[in-house]
Subunit: 184 residues, 2 copies
DNA sequence: CGGCTCGTTCAACGCTCGTACAATGAGACG
DNA sequence: CGTCTCATTGTACGAGCGTTGAACGAGCCG
């Protein structure tokens, strides 16, 4: 509606594409893959549905682009504290990015594959930080706990996790992570 | 295909209805609410799609019937051990029942409401067992951890949780639960 | 200025879904 | 045996989906 009339074509193009991607991320995160329609994404981005197809080729590819995760780095130092820091980031920051994949994963096979890939990289890094024979299992449990907490807090709101301050959650989780990471 | 020709009408009816419900549970658990089609459920149950409608009225109601949970009792005694026992049940036994709700929850609003209701009852019981001021948060975390572990193991198979023996998982989780339950 | 490019819209197709309804045919029952 | 009941089928409809391709029109370039 309100648009600057002066823009080069390349700018316009990039801007529109970015607007579509943002709308797609929010819609996928809010509704999941199946319920998200290309028409709805297009409407949220203020463009025609055909344009989304023209830029992204298919709903599948739109999702793939929307769901690309910036793979976080695991900070050095005490493993338990590093993992808690990563979780804090997820609990404090804008959750949309994580939610796109998390929500869609459960109904969309390709999304699950995508996350599995991202997760395995993660798990390896956790494993490397855990000095124990069953490091893979410990890493898996840590990942599962993080996922469970995020899903409860943002997706399902089953418990008081939804409103609790991140600090309180992290404080209660610290002994868990320490024990899983292999502290004596 | 292979059917006993001798059956009373009431038996036949109940048997068919049960077969549809079983097929519905498995399909909902495997595909989620949106991807599950009445035709697919009917085919899996070996009947016509119209019959499913005739018996259950709508897809919505079929789901509601399929997703009814038998609310487990929380065994008495040490709270941490009791919770671990419940989790063991989920990890050992046939997971379909839990998965129906878990998988559908994330795309289907009514399913989420249904689980929230079931969960709140649960959370209250956990809270009652936890002697601490922040019992609700602790209960929420325990619930989130259980959910995360089940989702990872059966739905996403992100980590080695999928193949690990339940005993190993429970052993690693025991200190976590003890700490959350308020042990010193 | 004139032709080309390309971002964007519009209308339509084919498909699948949930759902409705009439038809069928085998048991129940007097 | 005849009639009613009811489990079960087949067919069809309308809506919504992803996707397509033609058309338009404003920027770009010589």
């Amino acid at each position: 509606m309100t648009e600057q009339p002066r823009r080069t074509r390349a700018q316009q193009r990039r801007d529109t594409e970015a607007r579509i991607l943002t709308a797609a991320r929010e819609t996928f995160a809010g509704l999941g893959y199946e319920r998200t329609t290309i028409r709805a994404v297009a409407a949220a981005a203020g463009v025609n549905a055909g344009l989304v197809m023209h830029y992204f080729g298919s709903k599948e590819e739109l999702f793939a682009r929307a769901a690309r995760l910036s793979s976080h780095e695991l900070p050095p130092g005490d493993p338990a504290e590093a993992l808690l820091a990563v979780l804090r980031e997820r609990l404090d920051g804008e959750p949309v990015a994580s939610l796109v994949l998390l929500r869609s994963m459960l109904t969309h096979a390709e999304a699950a594959d995508g996350l599995r890939e991202a997760a395995s990289e993660w798990l390896e890094r956790i494993e490397a930080a855990v000095p124990a024979g069953d490091a893979d299992l410990r890493a898996g449990l840590i990942g599962a706990i993080m996922m469970g907490v995020v899903v409860d807090r943002y997706l399902l709101k089953l418990s008081s996790l939804a409103e609790a301050p991140a600090d309180d959650i992290l404080a209660l989780l610290r002994p868990c992570f320490e024990s899983l990471v292999g502290a004596r």
